[in-house]
Symmetry: C2
Subunit: 666 residues, 2 copies
Amino acid sequence: MSEANEISVASKLSDATAANSVYAATDPCAIGGLSVAVGQMDVIAGNPQANLATMRAMVAQAKEAGADLIVFPEMCVGGYFLADKWTDESFVDYLESLNDQVRAMSDSIGIIFGNVVRSYRGTAPKGTDGRRARYNAALFAQDGQWVPRQHDDAVAGVYLKSLLPNYRMFDDDRYFVSSLEDAQYHTELAFEDAYCSPFLFMVRGTTYRIGLEICEDLWSGDYAFDVTGHYQRQGCDLVVNISASPWTLGKDNGRAKRVAEHVAALGSIPPLLYVNNVGMQNNGKNVLSFDGGSALYGSDGRILHQCPDTFTESCEVVNWVEGASSTSAASCYENDSEKILDALVHTLRRFDQQIFPFKPKWIIGLSGGIDSSITACLLRLALSDPSRIIGYNLATRYNSDITKANAYNLAQALGITLKNGSIEAVVGATEDVLRTYGYADEQISGLAQENIQARLRGHMLSTFAGVEGGVIMNNGNKIEVALGYATLYGDAIGAISPLGDLTKVQLFDLARAINRRLGTEAVPENLIPEETDEGFSWETMPSAELKDAQVDPMKWFYHDWLIRKLQDYPGYGIEKIMRQYLKDKLASTPVAKWIPFYGLDDPEAFINDLEWVLRQLRISVFKRIQMPPIITISRGSFGFDFRENQAIYEQTPEYCELKEAILQRG
Amino acid sequence: MSEANEISVASKLSDATAANSVYAATDPCAIGGLSVAVGQMDVIAGNPQANLATMRAMVAQAKEAGADLIVFPEMCVGGYFLADKWTDESFVDYLESLNDQVRAMSDSIGIIFGNVVRSYRGTAPKGTDGRRARYNAALFAQDGQWVPRQHDDAVAGVYLKSLLPNYRMFDDDRYFVSSLEDAQYHTELAFEDAYCSPFLFMVRGTTYRIGLEICEDLWSGDYAFDVTGHYQRQGCDLVVNISASPWTLGKDNGRAKRVAEHVAALGSIPPLLYVNNVGMQNNGKNVLSFDGGSALYGSDGRILHQCPDTFTESCEVVNWVEGASSTSAASCYENDSEKILDALVHTLRRFDQQIFPFKPKWIIGLSGGIDSSITACLLRLALSDPSRIIGYNLATRYNSDITKANAYNLAQALGITLKNGSIEAVVGATEDVLRTYGYADEQISGLAQENIQARLRGHMLSTFAGVEGGVIMNNGNKIEVALGYATLYGDAIGAISPLGDLTKVQLFDLARAINRRLGTEAVPENLIPEETDEGFSWETMPSAELKDAQVDPMKWFYHDWLIRKLQDYPGYGIEKIMRQYLKDKLASTPVAKWIPFYGLDDPEAFINDLEWVLRQLRISVFKRIQMPPIITISRGSFGFDFRENQAIYEQTPEYCELKEAILQRG
């Protein structure tokens, strides 16, 4: 199955040609028969020559299809998430120097693309880091020339990003000077004319007035300046938004909402073409997925043309038919799980290709539990060569026959190697060494004993990786990451954590999506609970299998909901949840059923559990600081998206009052 | 020795009273006999009640000394480095609510202090993260009232930070709305009058016009607006700059340079009082030290009064005598090593007190090498109770008698427990387990074999920590961190890395400073090289002791210099170093001697070494992502100061040309 899904970096251009050939507009109208191609390319961070090759191939395709204009995404030349590589002056100068190479591709076609610009208006204001300014720019060339602007004071061919996001994984103000900041050095100029003047794009004797904007410029609700509104007031024929927008759950609807807000505020907008890239980029602690999903929005905010949001490259000429869609947020997916599955598979594949081009073995601990079963399936879907995956069952006396059989069946289903053995010898030797250091046997028990086993699993996987020249897969999920239910240097290790941003409940749906995709019960159904009216039935409860009859201490479904609320929803703080509990309003949330199921209708039990969760969240920050990069799919993933430090934060007086009020109900 | 140095959190207020009593101004003049106290307090991030208690005590001291005004640092109520805790709406509202409590302390005294403000001008613009705006504010109260401003449009009692730093460890734009951004929502107001109007502070019938600014506002060279210059033009009697400025090497001179630039540009400046906090704060990956070093600069930029820059609290009334100093950058230290030593000891102590209030044991691997010897000394200086430190010598057959004896002598000198034993049993068991998984003995060798030992040391330290309820000390230095010369989950583990931002050469000086401080040869001299005219002589070369006759592959002194240049000096890229080499200009750098010493005057050897360093820097990013927090002392520490991602960045054409040119010289 993975053969068909697999796109190697080397072959992706020819694949794109075959699978996503440019087709001509079916009914050119709207802005007068302008034929616009969308270059929804796979941008490889740090590898401009590969990106230029992609652009060159797509420009050729677009020309062949008779397009007048091709649009590429934000920062498509060098990538967007470069972290502090942006402070490498030589590398950034090199990126800028490539703008002329793209301009040179524009004979008989217009090209809009994103890249860094440093030379601007002849002056060189400094960034606030003391280095020469870097601008996040949209560039526009045609017939080897930079496209002119409507106003004399505006710079031909170059639009500077106006609104710079600085939240979640975004650090634009760290790296770029915005148009608004640059204007502070040019108070002699009228800002809108000098920086946001429409581009005058002439095709077959007609001049089209096109407004360029970049990504966040569309999300202007929380800024003082509205780029899109300005273009509407200017009467632009078309607004082009080039983006490098990592996909996370809810982002599609978020974008549709922004467009709808503009339509509501302005009455109508110029047709708006949103062009996003695909690919994998990372910021160190988070690995980000780009879904594409480029789209043309009509003046009423409904989608006229939708490019695939399937994380795959495409190069299409957009369809201008008004009323072609009745929706403002189209997607190729029917549910979140299918999209999450594609995000994980594509991102894992690209991570493997770009970070480990030497094609190492992937070393994975296969306990037979649900999490490791899923990561094994993801690897199998991501890699074309199953011989690169080696599963290891690392048994101790506490491992059950069911999970061992699960691991065996999974490896069979995926056609990967499973190596069986026992780590008892090294557990025993650890106890021997402890004795040589003067520790008595009775000191070696409980949690310390469990952590020894977990850590030795990590040690053995690392040892296998050393011998095989391999890299290690992390199997932890978001609930474990949040609560610190993982042993540092034990099961918390690895090169990447594909599940670290998914709750256990999201994993159940993902497991079903995987089994559908594979057409077989690769992830055993006995690992997935059946929801019932009152709760759930579960054949094999999650367990770390580090002691007899151990079952994970999580309150499944309830903790999944709680942690998602706290992490993913800005402003949904603990005090709000406590107020809802106090007013019996949790009954109208998805969590209603689980409150009585876990006995949390007892106020003391509710508070005890809440404080346990808060304490675990706090004391496991130090583990997360040392955990592998997480593939981000939520609105608030751990790592360098939601950024934590170590501190014992005082509880607010509001928290203390609510706690008191809840306990008094008991 | 550590008893005297130790300040427990509980007792620090009374200590401050005893040791740093407020003294009266000796010659009040300049701005007419205004008596100003500097509240150089230890700010504890996330613990406003502790901070308010400190402020209350210092206000009482200042009143007793007859001060008219006391100035506290930026964000002294809740701390400055709170990471994404700033997005916790309830907590931030709680912090803001405390402003009235500070105002209430101001009967018969003026109080300037820093805290977050959200309600401003009755409007509530949003931050760009969609949450209600947060402002980084300086507040000014007197006699229970907010102090009025010179201009009608300005808000009484509140100045908003204008220049927000977004480089290194700073993320101000992520968390705060600047005065300049807020002004975009109030275009009806004249910015300077509405936001930067002097405060009218009336004392004994005289009105003093005081300009407030916050930290980065002074470092305006890379911004379009100059707050200090504005106050000079307004003819303010005094400028007060409240800061939360983490100390790093060169920062003192940097600040003096900023003041001098203002004096040069403006002719003279109003007297400028810089008030900084002391303490430890962290951003997750970096632990930051605040040295205090508050100072009063005269109109010529020279220092009139200097508070201790010794990382210790003080509450002093400033001395206005003009010409009291001939310097613009005073310090209590004669050299960097002494200051680095204090930074590390105070920061380690506060980290232990604030993050681990349950007083755990500190588990430290004592190999007898220089790095672990130094960290043991730092712990001993930081903790009042030596019984909280347990050293473990984790020997294998490869460990020398010299290093074992070193470890023994060190433990004796420090009065800490040293436990001896051998990890051979667990190394052997690992090999046994490998065989059960089907690996042959000959596959278990070389680097894999070395990593097994290093990782099992990490495992055993973790096991000891589990049994002792302890936390682990990391012993790695910056060169190892940079080059990835550490085994992940082995010697790269721990709760904190105190040496992770010091090169090996900096460690030599630090070791000498420690021995001076302790008055004994705690760090054995045999571990410190003697520099000679041609190179160095070294009794015991650094070694990981993982195989026979192993010596670390670093080119000491040369790699130290190279890595410091690349990390600490913006714009000092690899191409610049190559150009210097090509033009024989490295001879005029501190590294001149080491080029021939290591045979790098051979161009091929130089390039081979350079490419090895660059490759190691790149491939070890994944290790640094999973390493413990590092105490920052340099201008570019790894972690969340210099932020890295994983990518294979193309070499620039300039790099390739320079490489070719160098090789052609050979």
